[in-house]
């Protein structure tokens, strides 16, 4: 897919995005004095490094905090703790003007194409909004740019006068993508952009993203809950469980040398056309639901569902550690050790 040189975490020199110890805790209830009594740790001390030009996939079950993380990177949600650096600038301590500049560089594609477009606006105005907001273009130049964007995402110029409800889900997602690339951003956070679409349309949108990434030299964070889509588009994949990254590695390494039992569980959950081809011995079937996120277990967060759990897992939280290939995992007893 790309000829990109995979750089190990430690050797990335000038990362586009750096996320350090990022946490977001949602307060569920407070005590008498307004102090938080119970909170849900949606994102818990997450570290990420994103190199320019790569696509980082983030997978995990619903409710694991992957969307929350995406939103905090754009400061749509203020994180509780941690720091985010975009091109070396501290995103959380930016002045208004700096933040406004960053908003040009970082864009988002949303999950639900029916909610992400204002039903009262014409496609033209939707796509023109970022251009107008940042006063990048007006008049004829604005028209030219919007039509160019429509072309880029594979829509017809004649559709610019229409309203969102006149489009199918896939077309709407294309409009959302056109809006996201309007300002020539450097980074796009794709928050499950294909999970609301038909399977047949998903591939089209994924290919469009890949094509645009090449053409516009984008860096993508691709959040998804389905392994196949994330696998298809990403160079590197992080697996999240209950707000933490439990495994992160190059795509090839993650699938060929899966180290965390949860990742193995997610991979086993993908239906395959001919089950007899599957190496049954490697399957990890995830049972039970997510534990109560208000009282996470003290040890490994995956302890309650892990088939290989021991006493050590119950008492001691495993740290995210890399092996010599740069494959990170947070597990006391990694597979493929």
């Amino acid at each position: 897919m790309t000829q990109q040189v995979q750089v190990k975490q430690s050797t990335i020199k000038a990362p586009l995005l750096e996320v350090k110890e990022l946490s977001k805790h949602f307060v569920v209830s407070t005590n008498l004095f307004g102090k938080p009594k119970e909170s849900v740790k949606a994102v818990n001390e997450v570290n990420l490094l994103l190199e320019k030009g790569e696509t980082l996939g983030i997978v995990g079950e619903s409710g694991c905090g992957k969307s929350t993380m995406g939103n905090t990177i754009l400061r749509l949600i203020e994180p509780t703790e941690g720091s985010i650096f975009f091109e070396g600038q501290d995103v959380l301590n930016m002045t208004r003007a700096q933040l406004q500049e960053m908003r040009k560089e970082v864009q988002m594609i949303f999950q639900d194409p029916f909610s992400s477009l204002n039903p009262r606006m014409r496609v033209f105005d939707i796509i023109a909004e970022p251009l107008r907001t940042h006063k990048v273009a007006n008049g004829k130049e604005l028209h030219r740019r919007v039509y160019e964007l429509l072309d880029l995402v594979g829509l017809d110029q004649s559709q610019a006068d229409r309203f969102p409800h006149q489009f199918s889900g896939g077309q709407r997602q294309r409009i959302g993508i056109a809006r996201a690339i309007a300002l020539n951003p450097k980074l796009i956070v794709c928050d499950e952009p294909v999970s609301a679409l038909d399977v047949s349309i998903q591939a089209q949108i994924l290919n469009l993203l890949l094509e645009l990434k090449e053409k516009l030299q984008l860096t993508l964070i691709f959040i998804g809950h389905g392994i196949p889509a994330v696998k298809y588009i990403s160079d590197r994949i992080a697996v999240m469980y209950l707000g933490e990254i439990v495994e992160m590695a190059d795509k090839e390494s993650l699938f060929s040398k899966t180290r965390h039992p949860y990742t193995q569980g997610l991979i086993s959950a993908v239906p395959i056309p001919d089950p007899s081809l599957r190496e049954v011995s490697e399957d990890v079937i995830l049972e039970k639901d997510l534990p109560d996120q208000r009282n996470l277990p003290k040890g490994c967060s995956f302890y309650s569902r892990c088939p290989f759990a021991t006493e050590k897992c119950k008492g001691e939280k495993p740290k995210l550690k890399a092996n010599e290939e740069g494959h990170l995992v947070a597990c006391h007893y990694p597979l493929h050790a």
């Binding site: 970082v106 992400s116 204002n118 039903p119 004829k140």
Partner: protein, 313 residues
């Protein structure tokens, strides 16, 4: 069906685009109106009422305040003893009921429309501010709204009208100032649901200013329900004005309003039913017309009906 003509591209890229008006031209409105039976009926009722109010002085056959002691309590023209010069009969002072209804239209419409405009503007501003900005803005504004709701509005109006001289102006202001709270609450709850939609988050992530988001994203998405509530409350306000005038606190003689006419006719209901009945019918028809029009507006203002709706609302 709209905009296809100019949609054809010229040499790949269209050089300029004729901006299509947001809700189309007069022709489209007429077509949309004729598609809906209730809408058409409502529109014509309202149109007639408005025309009557504007040209009341030219239409009235008699001076509405003129007493005619020789022709007191005349029945409508089709009954025994009725006269075609007093179409709907006369009241206990011999005043022409038909003329009085025509002149009363003015008060009813003025009070109905302008108090709703006043209440609507205040309610929209407060509701949007509370819903969009949230936090302490919301807390303060909504507590004010709550305290307004805690006062029985009819009592408040009675007190104010007892202190200030009742006139059309005071009626408009006092009804407007008591009714804005219901708009504020409705608008706030609509804003709360709209602002959580992804297109608003998208706008934030782009860096659009709050005021622009409110103008472009929030208000257009709540405005149709707002317009419908406003249209419907013109109807209830007309009834409120009638009740206040009925209580003797509304329009004072020699001015005429439908509510005041009901008061006049109350004592004669058993013997001379026409004095109270015709203004009552006038209120009913007007209110019904406004409600029909409001329902139609709700359907039309939804852009999902913009292109496709063929059937009528």
């Amino acid at each position: 069906m709209q905009g296809n003509a100019e949609a054809k591209t010229v040499g790949g890229i269209r050089p300029t685009v004729r901006k299509v008006k947001a809700y189309g031209g007069l022709k489209r409105w007429c077509r949309l109106l004729l598609q809906s039976k209730t809408g058409t009926v409502g529109f014509f009722i309202v149109l007639i009422v408005v025309l009557v109010a504007i040209f009341a002085d030219l239409i009235v056959p008699h001076d509405p305040a003129e007493n005619n002691l020789s022709g007191m309590l005349l029945p409508p023209f089709w009954m025994d003893g009725g006269s075609t010069s007093y179409l709907l009969g006369t009241d206990n002072l011999g005043r022409d009921i038909f003329s009085r209804i025509i002149v009363g239209t003015r008060v009813s419409l003025l009070v109905g429309i302008f108090s709703v405009v006043l209440a609507g503007i205040i309610g929209l501003l407060v509701g949007v501010a509370a819903g969009y900005y949230g936090k302490w803005v919301d807390t303060i504004l909504m507590r004010i709204v709550d305290s307004f709701l805690a006062i029985p509005s009819i009592l408040f109006i009675l007190v104010v009208l007892a202190v200030f001289e009742p006139s059309i102006m005071t009626l408009i202001v006092v009804i407007g100032l008591t009714n804005w709270v219901s708009y504020a609450r409705v608008v706030r709850s609509e804003v709360l649901s709209v602002k959580e939609r992804d297109f608003v988050r998208a706008s934030h992530s782009i860096g659009t200013k709050n005021t622009t988001i409110i103008k472009k994203h929030i208000v257009p998405n709540i405005i149709s329900s707002f317009i419908v509530i406003s249209a419907l409350s013109v109807a209830t306000t007309i009834i409120l004005e009638a009740s206040l005038s009925f209580l003797g606190l509304g329009i004072q003689p020699p001015d005429v309003s439908w509510g005041a006419m009901l008061t006049d006719g109350r004592n004669y209901l058993a013997t001379n039913w026409w004095i109270a009945t015709f203004p009552g019918i006038a209120i009913t028809i007007t209110v019904l017309g406004i409600i029909f029009l409001g329902d139609w507006l709700r359907d039309v203002l939804d852009p999902r009906n913009y292109f496709s709706k063929k059937g009528g609302a």
